[in-house]
Symmetry: C2
Subunit: 330 residues, 2 copies
C-alpha cells in the first residue's frame, strides 16, 4: 500500500472536480491510499465516505497567481505546504496537485529535499511528437542558470523517469541547442555535450534543435529552465496563433468558415495537446519523493491520472532508480 | 546614389530568380545601383543589359549546408566573401544575399567590421504578430552566450532598426524571459533588465514570455542567440506540427478532408508566415554597413524587397543611427 497526498484545493477548478478524480483513482487501484489535503468542509465529508482516504485539514490556499516563494513562506497552513510536509514526515509517500507549479516546486525543495548527489531538482513535462512518440522535456522552468553537470543530471533523471514511469525500454536522450553540430551551443551546453558523449552511452543522441521538439524523434529532451520555459510558451503561443488565424479566416470567407466547422474536432484536439491541457502535467525530478503537478485547468480524468501516475512512480521506485542513475554516472 | 552589392549565387533557387529580383529592384528605384557578385556566366550578361548594374566576377559558391566559418576561410573567391570585401573597400555601400546566414555573418564580421562601441553584432528578423503588428526579434543565433550589456545594445540596435527601416515611430521593446516579473530570468537577463530599466525610457516594456512572441504586443523583442534560435525553430516546428496534424486528419475522415480543402488558402498563408518564408529574412545589426539576408527558399519578390530594404537602410542612415543610439546610452 502506498499513500499519495492529493491537494484538494489546487487548480482553477472547484475542489469537487479534484475529489471526483481522487474517488476514481481509488476505485481504479485497490492498493492506493490517499491523504486528502484541504479545507475542512471539503476534505472531511469526502474522507468519511471513502475508506482508503484520510483527511489533512488545512486552512489556507495558495492561488495560481501568487508569488511562489512568498506564498510558501507566508501560507504555512496551505494545502501545498502542509501536504508536502506530510510527505517529509512519512505520513504520505508522494504528492499530487493541480496547483501552482512554482509554489509546489518551492515548497517541495524545502520540505521533501533532494536525493543525495543531485545538484538541482528540476521540472519535467511531456510534449507530443508528430510520430506519435511523446518526449519528456526538462527543465521546464526551475533552473534559469545551469552548470554543465546539472544538464548531465537532468539527462540521467529524465531517462530514469522515461523508463520507469513512461515505460520506454531504453530511452534516447538529446540535448537542446542552437544547432545539431557537437560544437554548437552556449558554453554550458557545449560542455554538457562533451560530458554526455564521454559517458559513451548508446542513449545519448547528441544535440537537437527547436524544430525537433515536436518531431517525436527522442524520448527525452534536455535543456535549462530558461530555454525550456521560453520554448514551451513559444510552442503554446504558436499553436494559439495558428488556431487564431484559422478562426479569423472563418470570419472573412464562407468557404473557410465551412472548412473550419468541419475541422473543428481536429482543431480542438490539437488545442488540447499543444495549449497545456495535455502536456501541462509536470513532475519534479531529483527529490526524495515523487511530486507530480497537474495542469491548472484540470479535470476529473487529469486528477485520476495524476494520482495514479504518482502511485506508479512509487510502485516502480522512481526515486531509487534516479538515485542509482545519478550515483552510477559520477 | 547608393550601391547595394547583391549575391547572385545565394539561396536554394537558380541565379535567374535572383537576377530577376535585382532587375525589378532597379526598375522600382532609379536611385539604386547594384554590384552583382557571382559566376561570370551569370553576372556578366546581366550587367551588360542593365545600366545601373556592375559585375563582380567570382569563382566560388558557399552552399547552404556548409560549415560557416570553414567555408568563409577556405572559399576566398566566393560571392559572399568577395561581395562583403567589396563593401569593406567602399565599392558598394550595403550587401544583400539569400545565402547561408552563418557564412554571411562570419564573413561580414571579418570584413565589414563592427561600429565603434558595439560589443557584438547580432542577427535580427521579423516575426508576425496576431494583432497584425510584426516584431523585430533579435538575436536569432549569432551569440549563444551574452553578457547583460550586450542584451542592452541589442535592444538599442533593434529599436533603431525598427524606427529607421520598419518605420515605427517610437518602438516598444521587451526582454524575453521565463516570466513577466522583473526578477525572473537567467542572471544575465535579470541584470540586463535592471540596466534597461535604469535608462528610464518609455520604450522599455520589461520582460515578456515565449507566449508573447507572436502576440504582436511589442515592436522589438530581445534575447540571446541561443534562446532566439531555439524559440524561432520551436515556432517553426509547432506550425509544422499543427499543419501536419490537420493533414493527417484529412486522411482519417471525409469531413475533415473537406474542411481542410476549404481552408487550404488560409493554411498555406500561415505556413508561409510561420515556416520561414516570411520571417526568414534577416538583418545583421552592429556592423559598419547594412547587411541583409533573404530566406534561402527565395523568390523574385523577396530579392527585390531585400535589395530595396538594403537601399532604404542606406538612405535612412541606419548605421549612423545605431552608432548614435549606442553612444548615447553608454
Amino acid at each position: 500500500m502506498s499513500c499519495v497526498c492529493v491537494d484538494a484545493m489546487g487548480g482553477d477548478e472547484k475542489p469537487e472536480v479534484v475529489l471526483e478524480g481522487i474517488a476514481e483513482a481509488l476505485a481504479a487501484d485497490p492498493e492506493l491510499t490517499v491523504l486528502v489535503a484541504g479545507n475542512e468542509d471539503v476534505v472531511v465529508p469526502f474522507c468519511a465516505k471513502h475508506e482508503r482516504a484520510r483527511a489533512l485539514v488545512t486552512t489556507e490556499v495558495i492561488g495560481m497567481g501568487e508569488h511562489p516563494t512568498e506564498a510558501v513562506r507566508s501560507k504555512k497552513d496551505s494545502s501545498i505546504v502542509r501536504g508536502l510536509m506530510a510527505v517529509r514526515k512519512g505520513e504520505a509517500d508522494g504528492f499530487f496537485s493541480a496547483g501552482s507549479t512554482g509554489a509546489i516546486f518551492a515548497a517541495a525543495s524545502l520540505s521533501v529535499g533532494r536525493i543525495r548527489g543531485v545538484k538541482r531538482a528540476c521540472i519535467a513535462t511531456s510534449i507530443p511528437g508528430s510520430t506519435g512518440r511523446p518526449s519528456v522535456f526538462l527543465d521546464m522552468g526551475a533552473n534559469a542558470d545551469v552548470r554543465p553537470e546539472m544538464l548531465v543530471q537532468f539527462a540521467q533523471m529524465g531517462r530514469a523517469y522515461s523508463r520507469v514511469v513512461v515505460g520506454v525500454d531504453d530511452p534516447k536522450v538529446a540535448l537542446l541547442s542552437n544547432g545539431a553540430e557537437d560544437t554548437k551551443g552556449s558554453a554550458a551546453v557545449v560542455e554538457a555535450h562533451q560530458a554526455l558523449a564521454a559517458l559513451d552511452a548508446d542513449w545519448f543522441c547528441g544535440n537537437c534543435e527547436g524544430s525537433d521538439l515536436l518531431a517525436g524523434r527522442f524520448d527525452v529532451i534536455v535543456t535549462d529552465g530558461f530555454t525550456g520555459n521560453v520554448a514551451l510558451k513559444a510552442m503554446e503561443g504558436t499553436a494559439k496563433f495558428v488556431l487564431g488565424a484559422i478562426k479569423k479566416a472563418v470570419g472573412s470567407s464562407k468557404r473557410a468558415a465551412a472548412g473550419a466547422m468541419m475541422l473543428k474536432p481536429t482543431l480542438k484536439g490539437l488545442a488540447h495537446e499543444l495549449m497545456g491541457e495535455e502536456y501541462g502535467g509536470a513532475v519534479l525530478l531529483g527529490l526524495k519523493a515523487p511530486v507530480l503537478i497537474g495542469h491548472g485547468a484540470t479535470s476529473v480524468e487529469a486528477v485520476k491520472n495524476g494520482t495514479l501516475s504518482c502511485k506508479r512512480a512509487l510502485d516502480s521506485q522512481l526515486v531509487d532508480k534516479i538515485a542509482a542513475e545519478v550515483a552510477q554516472a559520477k
